[in-house]
């Protein structure tokens, strides 16, 4: 039988820590130090989602490629050719235009969907163990990130195949991706908390995403919207960032004002997400 080592308590809580448990106020703030101590859990949970995702599937990780590529193929045929959308995007090949917009959109949609159901999906854990609850929706972002990276490889390949021109703005892609992550995380975190109490959001989320898709410049460029209404489009926090992503990838020139709106919206959404999460998290175990 094994013996217990008495030393080496590399504990998440220092040995002498005093914890006071008392009725919570309407607020239970998020403790960044505690989150940091539990970073391994974040990593392992994200890894679990990724590992489980394609287990026992015949095609495995190819699915991460197939989904955006098939969507791109069907859309460029139906929208591009039959409906004539291809003429509205200038001299950019329509499939390339589509993929460069679909990729950030799909990452956003997958992240929000995964995060919003994450707490409910991990109910057993939430009810039986204490850990910073925020870890759960954050970890849910891991798998969509990996999928997006795989799909990004396909985009790079397409850019090469179509000999699409690039410019220096391509270096901004990581920052643009970060903006997208801010928005996705903010919305996902808030929805994760809301879904615990109101399962309505299970129906709201897919529906809202569907509607959102059409008011976001994914299948058509932002400039098809008349100039006097453009500001309205840019109120959609995704409009600026997805346009910026596509512009950076295809070298067509970023609209910095629109991207700026997205950055500000992202920061606000993240703050709102964290705030609502901390207001709701203390009763997760009781209602999940």
């Amino acid at each position: 039988m094994s013996t217990i080592a008495t030393s080496n308590l590399a504990a998440p809580t220092p040995a002498t820590a005093l914890t006071v448990l008392k009725p919570s106020r309407l607020w239970s703030p998020i403790d960044p130090a505690e989150l940091w101590r539990y970073r391994d859990l974040l990593w392992i949970l994200a890894k679990r989602d990724i590992q489980v995702r394609y287990k026992q599937t015949a095609l495995g990780a190819i699915w991460a490629l197939l989904q955006p590529l098939v969507t791109m193929g069907v859309m460029s045929l139906v929208l591009g050719r039959f409906l004539g959308a291809a003429q509205m995007v200038g001299d950019i090949p329509y499939p390339l235009f589509l993929l460069a917009g679909l990729l950030p959109w799909m990452f956003f949609a997958a992240s929000v969907t995964a995060a919003s159901t994450s707490l409910v999906g991990n109910a057993a854990m939430v009810q039986k163990v204490y850990f910073p609850r925020l870890i759960v929706p954050l970890a849910a972002l891991g798998a969509p990130m990996i999928d997006a990276l795989v799909a990004f490889g396909a985009l790079v390949l397409m850019v090469v195949v179509y000999q699409s021109p690039t410019n220096i703005e391509v270096l901004l892609l990581p920052l643009i991706a970060l903006t997208l992550l801010l928005i996705a995380a903010g919305i996902g975190i808030a929805l994760a908390a809301l879904t615990v109490s109101y399962r309505d959001f299970r129906f709201v989320v897919p529906f809202a995403l569907q509607v959102w898709f059409f008011i976001t410049p994914v299948i058509l460029p932002a400039r098809v919207v008349p100039t006097q209404w453009r500001w309205l489009l840019n109120l959609n926090p995704l409009a600026g960032v997805i346009s910026a992503f596509r512009a950076a990838a295809l070298g067509t020139g970023i609209d910095y004002a629109a991207w700026g709106v997205s950055v500000v919206a992202g920061l606000l959404l993240l703050a709102a997400g964290l705030l609502s999460f901390s207001a709701m998290q203390r009763r997760f175990a009781d209602v999940v």
Partner: protein, 486 residues
């Protein structure tokens, strides 16, 4: 003061009842709550902290009425409605106190058993101390790192391998990857699953699953270990090893809080026991003493009508509403049976149920499990299609020594999910009797009487025991086997 590992002061926890917990709350309430939060507590006299207390408006009067919850009694909304009471009293009855003014000081290094019937508040206490849920009133001070094992295998993912799950489960319990890696070999050795490390755990037997899960938790090395009912699973040998491990943990000056229905384990492991009932501490002292008084209270409970018992577990809706014992062919129920005679146990269900399985277990006065009766293992034939409302178990011959036995009963579905579970559902006295023509008086040692025969000879070989017993002695035959043979 500072050598108290856990100090609990007037801790109370109130829950809302009913499945509609979340649904009852509308967005309007949520928004009102948020506005309330912004405006602050200045305006609002606080009844107490938790959201579970925030009453939905309750009419136009708007005043906050002091809630008078039923003392630990679970009133179902349904009966309230049937009684046609006002909406106000209905909303009151949707709360109950799972814990009520619990105060305990637990010094560092003490091993404390928490005992009590289903619904007594044991698990709620552990949940509050594990920080999973907030108390409604009072507070608790905890010194040191808490490792809690409220359910074996929390965070296990069926698709992942044993190796991956060790890391996952360890991280969920609060270990870092470095810690887990350092103890990985110990964990695997303790669980004895070396060969299956790279097999997904969904292909594990339930025994292997539990062994692995306990092994991870046992290597957590917290200052305070909180364990809920893990020993209810696994085979006897592994249970013994778990107990050994917990003893070792306790031996190092760590504090252990241990909830169990296994009174033998509590007595063996704990210095001290706390008996909870309806959310309150009703006994606190040396383990032997508290376990004794708890078992007495269970025996008294056995006289309460089963249908009226509130302290039951399981998902429902079917309930075991009656359990009765009959001696020989008598048709009046009794609680007194006799050695060597036959007995019939009849369990009535509140409503017919398909795919029902019934399990009951006999315990002696010390809380040791004596015999387990499981319809799935021993019933004659598949009875799954029959909508069952009565389950009858015939024991052709009682081969237990005279004494008092307590009976726990559970109704399960086909997936072994507990639909209903009542502890101390019945107390049976087994009186003196005869077995194979010989008297078995009170005071006979041991608990089981095995059919056997003596031969005193000069040296020639005796006939083989099997032939002899089969021919001459009435032996215990399982009803299932009997019918299969016929």
């Amino acid at each position: 003061m500072s050598n108290q590992a856990i100090q609990i002061e007037n801790l109370s926890k109130r829950y809302r009842l009913g499945q509609g917990v979340a649904m009852e709350r509308t967005f309007r309430e949520l928004i009102q709550e948020s506005i309330g939060a912004a405006v602050g507590k200045l305006r609002r006299p606080r009844v107490s902290g938790g959201v579970e207390d925030t009453e939905p408006g309750n009419g136009a009067a708007g005043g906050i009425e002091p809630l008078e919850p039923p003392e630990g009694v679970i009133e179902t909304g349904r009966t309230e409605k049937a009684a046609g009471k006002s909406a106000e009293s209905e909303s009151r009855s949707r709360h109950f106190w799972a814990l009520r003014e619990v105060s305990l000081d637990i010094p560092q290094g003490q091993v404390v058993g928490i005992i009590g019937r289903n619904g007594a508040g044991k698990s709620t206490l552990l949940k509050v101390l594990s920080r999973i849920t907030d108390p409604t009133e009072g507070r608790a001070l905890i010194r040191g790192r808490v490792g809690s094992l409220l359910e074996v295998g929390t965070g296990f993912h069926p698709e992942l391998t044993g190796r991956e799950n060790v890391y996952l489960n360890g991280a969920v319990l609060g270990m870092t990857r470095r810690e887990i890696a350092a103890k990985f070999d110990d964990i695997v050795a303790f669980a004895q699953i070396e060969r299956f490390l790279d097999t997904p755990v969904k292909r594990y037997s339930s025994g292997m699953y539990v062994r692995l899960a306990f092994a991870v938790a046992a290597h957590l090395e917290p200052e305070i270990l909180i364990v809920d009912e893990v020993l209810a699973v696994g085979d006897a040998a592994f249970q013994a090893r778990c107990l050994g491990k917990m003893k070792a943990v306790a031996g190092q000056g760590r504090t252990v809080l241990f909830v169990s229905h296994n009174m033998a384990a509590v007595q063996q492991l704990c210095d001290r026991a706390v008996h909870l009932d309806a959310g309150r501490v009703i006994a606190d002292g040396p383990a032997q003493q508290v376990v004794g008084s708890y078992l007495d209270s269970l025996r008294q409970r056995g006289t309460l009508r089963l249908a009226e018992r509130k302290d039951r577990g399981g998902t429902g809706p079917q309930r075991i509403i009656d359990a009765a014992a009959y001696l020989d062919a008598h048709d009046t129920p009794t609680t007194v049976l006799a050695v060597g005679r036959s007995a019939r146990l009849v369990f009535a269900l509140s409503e017919p149920m398909r795919e029902a399985e019934l399990v009951f277990a006999l315990y002696d006065v010390h809380g040791h499990l004596i015999a387990d009766f499981d319809s799935r293992q021993f019933a004659a034939a598949d009875h799954h299609d029959t909508p069952t409302s009565r389950v009858i178990c015939d024991i052709p011959q009682l081969t237990l020594t005279p004494g008092t036995y307590r009976l726990n009963v559970a109704l399960l579905d086909r997936q072994r999910v507990a639909i209903d579970h009542v502890e101390g559902a019945m107390t049976l006295r087994i009186e003196d009797g005869t077995l194979a023509g010989r008297a078995v008086p009170h005071g006979t040692r041991g608990v089981a009487l095995l059919p056997h025969q003596w031969n005193f000879t000069r040296g020639e070989a005796a006939p083989s025991a099997a032939d002899q017993i089969a021919d001459d002695l009435p032996i215990l035959t399982l009803p299932g086997n009997e019918r299969h043979a016929a």
